[in-house]
């Protein structure tokens, strides 16, 4: 029976090519606009590490007290602790080591001097982290591995580099044990990362805003970087100016510049850690009531507004466009279906049950949806390719066409058409079995 409906649908669509084209274009454009903005939204609002994001937590501690309270009292998060840690707290948390895995980290931007003569030094982006960082974020290694807690303790001059930097400096291959000149010191390569670009960049949101175009070129042991006086890149936020100058002065100040992440495997561990944080704050800042937060990763990304509001507005407006396209298609389908009320009446008289009329017209709408979806796919392809022209590069580079987007586009197109066809089909099915083909 379905083949009969298909045949009827094709026949009907062919009969009014203008109207059919109009509906297909409408669906196509509507779906493409929303899918293009969706591709961007999906990229920036996605879970960067879905298999363990619920186990990763970001602690916040109020090290400034009431004097450091800023912002608007109407803000729901007014009075929250700052979004990063100062050096003393970060190091103390590391020393207590209460989570399964944890790492303090800060952004660095050292220069790397290639071995070959005549090549200018290059600027490398990266982070200073603790050994547990690698297993905690499941960083993939192409060669070698991270380092040990012992390396952390003895401030080993070792480095994990990206595949990109490996190609640039060493020409690729297994470079473990090779030596890399960073800021004039020699570091031994212990690992080369595989292809790793978590999006959004989740472990240092306060410095990257969630988007880190350059990616990690070098990852150094935290203590080693501090000992080498490798200053922090990115933001430094001070409630009071440091009393001493220089990077050492920064370490002795209450300025915040360090991110922190901890892995807690179950609810009990989370509860224990919360209690621990409160105790920690009470002990370190007895002048005011402990003010701490422990947000899981997705809440943290949301709290830090990783999804730019422009992206949300675009998605909202594009969805509005899709709705208009739906209403438009519904109007056209209504006209098209009711124009055939004579035919419907005859079919009903000849014994077509209501379900058959539903099937016939929904099949027709589904075909429009499918055709609109295919057109939508092409337009989405064009759209995704051109987001780079209209959106900030760091965000646009995340939007891409993949199988799931393809399937979503087709599904959305078909479902949208079926939705649009629902009322017109209902009206068509209500046409009474006819005694006369109306001739108006």
């Amino acid at each position: 029976m379905f083949s009969y409906y298909l045949e009827l649908a094709l026949r009907s669509l062919r009969r009014s090519p203008g109207l059919t084209a109009l509906m297909i274009l409408t669906i196509g454009f509507g779906v493409a606009a929303s899918m293009t903005t969706w591709s961007v939204f999906r990229a920036v609002s996605g879970d960067p590490i879905p298999w363990k994001s619920s186990k990763l937590f970001v602690p916040q501690i109020d090290m400034w007290g009431p004097a450091g309270k800023g912002g608007n009292p109407a803000d729901p998060h007014y009075g929250d602790p700052p979004n990063a840690l100062d050096y003393a707290d970060a190091v103390a948390l590391m020393r207590d080591h209460r989570a399964t895995l944890q790492s303090a980290l800060y952004m660095i931007s050292p220069s790397v001097v290639p071995q070959q003569a005549g090549k200018h030094p290059i600027n490398a982006g990266g982070h200073a982290v603790y050994s547990e960082f690698f297993p905690m974020v499941d960083a993939p290694f192409k060669y070698g591995s991270g380092w040990s807690a012992a390396d952390d303790a003895r401030r080993a001059e070792i480095v994990v580099i990206s595949d990109k930097l490996n190609n640039k400096v060493f020409g690729g291959g297994n470079s473990v044990s090779k030596t890399l000149d960073i800021e004039g010191r020699d570091y031994r390569v212990v690992g080369v990362l595989g292809d790793w670009h978590p999006e959004p960049m989740f472990y240092d949101v306060s410095n990257t805003g969630g988007f880190y175009m350059s990616g990690e070129d070098v990852l150094l042991p935290f203590n080693t970087a501090i000992a080498a006086g490798m200053p922090n890149e990115g933001s430094t936020n001070c409630n009071e100016d440091p009393k001493e100058s220089g990077f050492v002065g920064l370490q002795h100040s209450s300025c915040i510049w360090i991110s922190y992440m901890a892995q807690l495997d179950n609810a009990t561990a989370v509860q224990h850690y919360r209690n621990y944080l409160d105790g920690f704050a009470r002990q370190r800042y007895p002048q005011w009531a402990p003010n701490t937060r422990l947000r899981d990763l997705m809440s943290w990304l949301d709290y830090e507004h990783v999804v730019p509001s422009d992206t949300r507005v675009s998605l909202l407006v594009a969805l509005g466009l899709l709705i208009v396209c739906l209403v438009n298609t519904a109007g056209l389908l209504l006209a098209k279906f009711l124009r055939r009320s004579g035919e419907i009446g005859v079919r009903r008289a000849l014994g077509a049950p209501r379900a058959a009329i539903y099937a016939q017209f929904l099949t027709e709408a589904g075909m429009i949806g499918l055709a609109g979806g295919v057109l939508g796919l092409l337009l989405t392809g064009v759209g995704v390719a051109s987001v780079g022209l209209v959106m900030p590069k760091d965000i646009a580079s995340l939007a891409r066409l993949d199988i799931s987007l393809l399937l979503t586009t087709l599904t959305v197109a078909v479902i949208a058409s079926l939705l649009a066809a629902l009322y017109p089909t209902f009206r068509a099915s209500r046409v009474q079995p006819a005694w006369q083909l109306k001739s108006n």
């Binding site: 109207l19 220069s111 200018h120 509001s309 438009n328 109007g331 124009r339 959106m391 009206r427 108006n440």
Partner: protein
């Protein structure tokens, strides 16, 4: 012509009428807000920084193995390196002038802090961006000094990046001066930049934007203070004014000359993070998201209007086809072509008018939603009225073709049976 027959006909096509009116309403709501977004973004993009942006470029560089800057000796060493670089740039044939500066408008690298009128003031009177300047900054950037005096060479000190050496004099922007001293005449007044040390305002510049264009800086976009200090760190920025028409040459010379003076440095050379950037490039990058948003909204508006226009054409064509016979009868009974044309135009005006009324409500509702969740400004009523005019015009434009086809139905159709 009376409205009665039109209303009667519309009642017979209730669902179709409702759908097209709803579509017009939604279109109006979205287009109004989208155009408003475009308008405000374009306004943002076009605002001047206060500098003479032509022939201006910026160099960002990082020294390799530079002194730490933690002690006086190493700070002095860094300062010497900085001055050498500035001299190198100033001596280039295609360079008119050059300065070292911590940041420039639109570069997003913001140094900012509160400014008070009394020592140890609890809450700052104003928030402002800090530019570390020298006696040639106003000239090189093309700022306009409107009161007081410029710095002279003797005013300029130097300190490490994380130092706390607040100089006794500063220059502020007019916006900041007005905010701090609403009574006017800020020159000669004392302000506190670090809560403890007094600084005297010696000059006022007309306008200088802060580095950040992000929303967090919206409250103090024009509040800048020029501090006569060279900042010595492991990286530095230079603002360079090329001789007219010699921009490209100057940019090439600058890179080569700096490397020649000291090869142990990084000056980025990939397209995205180039260490030598024209200010036009900086401006384009800073407002890229705004431009993108404006373009995206524009594209969506175009699609919307096209879809709605096409929908009106489609539905009206259908109605014309359906009423073919009826139109013939009217013609036979003496209606002129223009009467038929008017009939469909009036019909569309009624539908679009109804849709527009609902659309105004939806537009304001959508604006409220955007205001609440996305920090959007209130939609000026002018945009709504323009939107109403636009959808009414769109309706009339779209209905014209099918209506004209209707008016061409010959009266003889009335006599045909089927």
């Amino acid at each position: 012509m009376t409205l009665h027959p039109i209303l009667a006909a519309l009642r017979r096509h209730k669902a179709g009428v409702v759908l097209i009116a709803l579509q017009i309403a939604l279109t109006l709501a979205i287009v109004c807000n989208a155009i408003f977004i475009i308008g405000s973004r374009v306004q943002r993009i076009q605002r001047p920084t206060g500098m003479d942006e032509k022939n201006l470029f910026m160099v960002t560089q990082l020294w390799v193995g530079a002194p730490t800057g933690d002690d006086k000796a190493s700070i002095d060493k860094l300062d010497a390196m900085l001055r050498t670089d500035v001299q190198t740039l100033r001596s280039l044939p295609d360079v008119e002038s050059a300065i070292a500066i911590n940041s420039l408008p639109l570069t997003n690298s913001t140094w900012s802090g509160g400014i008070g009128l009394k020592p140890a003031q609890e809450h700052a009177t104003a928030h402002a961006a800090h530019y570390f300047a020298d006696e040639q900054t106003i000239h090189t950037l093309g700022l306009r000094l409107i009161a007081g005096r410029d710095f002279n060479a003797g005013d300029v000190h130097h300190m490490g990046v994380r130092g706390q050496n607040v100089p006794p004099i500063v220059i502020v922007t007019k916006a900041l001066a007005d905010k701090l001293f609403p009574g006017g005449n800020a020159v000669g007044k004392t302000i506190y930049i670090d809560r403890n040390t007094p600084s005297t305002i010696v000059g006022v510049v007309a306008r200088m934007q802060v580095p950040s264009v992000d929303s967090w800086a919206n409250d103090f976009t024009w509040n800048s203070v020029l501090i006569p200090t060279r900042l010595d760190g492991n990286f530095s920025r230079y603002a360079v004014r090329a001789r007219p028409g010699r921009m490209d040459a100057a940019m090439k010379e600058a890179r080569a000359a700096l490397f020649a003076a000291n090869p142990m440095r990084v000056i980025g050379d990939d397209a995205d993070s180039s260490g030598v950037k024209s200010f036009a490039d900086i401006r384009a990058r800073a407002y890229r998201a705004d431009l993108g948003m404006a373009i995206l909204m524009g594209v969506i508006c175009l699609i919307l209007l096209a879809v709605t226009g096409a929908g009106i054409v489609g539905l009206t064509s259908f109605w014309v086809g359906q009423r073919h016979k009826q139109i013939g009868v009217r013609r036979a009974l003496g209606a002129r072509k223009i009467d038929i044309l008017r009939y469909f135009q009036t019909e569309n005006l009624l539908i679009a008018g109804g849709g527009a009324m609902l659309g105004v409500v939806l537009a304001l509702g959508l604006n409220l939603l955007l205001m609440r969740h996305f920090a959007m400004a209130r939609l000026p009523i002018g945009y709504v009225l323009a939107g109403v005019a636009a959808v009414l015009a769109l309706g009339q434009g779209a209905v014209f073709l099918p209506a004209r086809r209707a008016s061409n139905v010959p009266p003889v159709v009335a006599t045909r049976s089927v």
